[in-house]
């Protein structure tokens, strides 16, 4: 066991790091209620008057809608492809299963700008115009690994004897999947899906290259911050996005627990 001094020292360090992690988040939340339209500290008072114009801003609504649609489609694709890959890798030992993990983790391990440029040049190559679907494809590439990791981690923890018992009791392959395997991985699917949704909803870099002239919500925010326009409304939208991304992640965390970045499993 560590000495008392060490433990206290480490405890203080942890408190400092937590402050470092959360002060910016608290700040951004406070600025959303900033009474003044000047973005300086300390803010003179609190108000909710920026919420209405931000929520009724047509550009924001359009961008929000696009972001939600993309995130939903990308999550759907990620759930399908990610769980297939997880089942395949889990059920069968074969040469190259390592290679599959490597392949799926690439889009998230390589810098986003490379994924973005690669996809954009590839679409141009095929003569595909940038559209809603090109954004979805871009997002799906880096969302698959999140579902894959969650489902695979769960499959590794569910004892194989359960499936065997089901088969011994006369269930066919489909029934075993429907009544045994699926229920045991369902929360992993949900948490993987929630994380994929949050990841897609917030993505900027790949989207910049695959969206063309379309604005997702993060791209709208990025543009406004750069130009320094409508900052009070930007604060509100950023605050709302923060709320929207934190809720699914907190939910995902509740559904499953353990360690790893790309999984809550």
């Amino acid at each position: 066991m560590e000495s008392r001094g060490t433990r206290i020292g480490l405890g203080i360090w942890v408190a400092l790091v937590l402050a470092f992690l959360y002060v910016p988040i608290v700040i951004i939340c406070l600025y959303a209620f900033n009474k003044s339209n000047v973005q300086s500290w300390p803010i003179p008072g609190l108000t909710t008057r920026w919420f209405s114009p931000a929520i009724h801003n047509g550009d924001v609504q359009k961008a929000l809608w696009l972001s939600l649609e993309c995130a939903a489609m990308a999550t759907g694709a990620a759930l399908a492809l990610g769980s297939l890959a997880a089942f395949g890798v889990h059920r069968f030992r074969f040469f190259g299963r390592e290679a599959i993990s490597f392949l799926l983790v690439l889009p998230i391990a390589l810098p986003g700008i490379i994924t973005g440029m690669a996809l954009s040049s590839y679409f141009t190559w095929w003569g595909i115009n940038l559209s809603f679907w090109t954004i979805v494809i871009g997002h799906a590439t880096f969302c698959v690994v999140v579902v894959y990791n969650n489902v695979l981690a769960r499959l590794r923890r569910v004892p194989g004897s359960l499936t065997e018992a089901s088969m011994d009791l006369g269930a066919d392959g489909w029934q075993t999947f429907r009544y045994v395997t699926f229920p045991s991985i369902s929360t992993a699917l949900i948490s993987g899906g929630l994380l994929a949704f949050a990841l897609s909803f917030d993505e900027v870099i790949v989207t910049t290259f695959t969206a063309g002239a379309q604005n997702t919500l993060p791209i709208w925010i990025f543009g406004q911050i750069r130009l320094g326009q409508q900052l009070p409304q930007v604060n509100v939208v950023v605050f709302l996005i923060l709320a929207v991304t934190i809720v699914p992640v907190a939910l995902a965390q509740r559904l499953t627990r353990e360690s790893g970045i790309l999984r809550t499993e």
Binding site: S3, T6, L10, W13, V14, V17, L18, F20, L21, Y22, I25, I27, I28, Y31, Q39, S40, W41, L81, A85, V89, R91, F92, I100, F102, L103, L104, V105, L110, P111, G112, I113, I114, T115, M117, A118, S120, S121, Y122, W125, T141, Y148, L199, D202, V204, I205, I221, F222, I225, R226, V234, V238, L242, T245, I246, V249, R257, S259, G260, I261, L262
Partner: protein, 275 residues
Amino acid sequence: MKALALLAPPTGAFIAVYIAALVALFVSAFWLVNPFTGIVHTWSLDNFRELWHGGTYHTVALRTIGIAAAVTVTDAVIAFPFAYFMARVAGRKTRAALFVLVLLPLWASYLARVYAWRLILNSDGLLNWTLHKLGLPSAGLAYTNTAVWIVFSYIWLPFMVLPVYAALERIPHSYIEASRDLGAKNARTLRSVILPLALPGVVAGSIFTFSLTLGDYITPLLVGGASSQFIGNVVYDSVLGGGNLPFGAAYAVVPLVIMGIYLVIARRLGAFEAL
């Protein structure tokens, strides 16, 4: 056969879209752009030649790699004691709470967090206000490379904490006891037992801190200054601003190659198990 049926759609899709796209990117780095007719499909090393001889591109690449390395080291130094506390000091409940507290900012909007730092570091932001209250002179950090370094370290910190924690947690307590029984002091145990076993976790974390910094252009654009250009900014400008995809692709080969080598080494060190 069944494995093939399960694996064919995901791997097929990945190879057909993602890997093919990476190849397309790599190939287009050898093409040129004619201002009148667009991309010219003739093999040429001109893009690479221009990069090799252009002093600015060296500076930008070195700055990018330097800051990415600094961010990785900073995060490792901040994360290690934190993860150590989580794994070896905290009780079960505290540990679970800390885990969630670290994870949440990671998933909270990236842009929101960068923007928050812009507000904090501004000359009339929280930082200078606090310094002023403490009777210290203001820090002119806004729009500097230091700001870029701080913000990157902040943004990617959770990516470092979690794998280091996972690695530390997996060290059997008996190893530490054995080390003590053999007469090692705390510092020696830390250096000879704990640190080597935590290394795969640190490397796993560094894949993210390093790679994500290497390819970013948003943080340098939002909190950096005129001399904070990253490889990503040059690529972004040449592709989306100048319409010169081949040149951008050629420059992007730099981080691509660096990350390729890095990932191979990381795999050797067992970092993929720690993800």
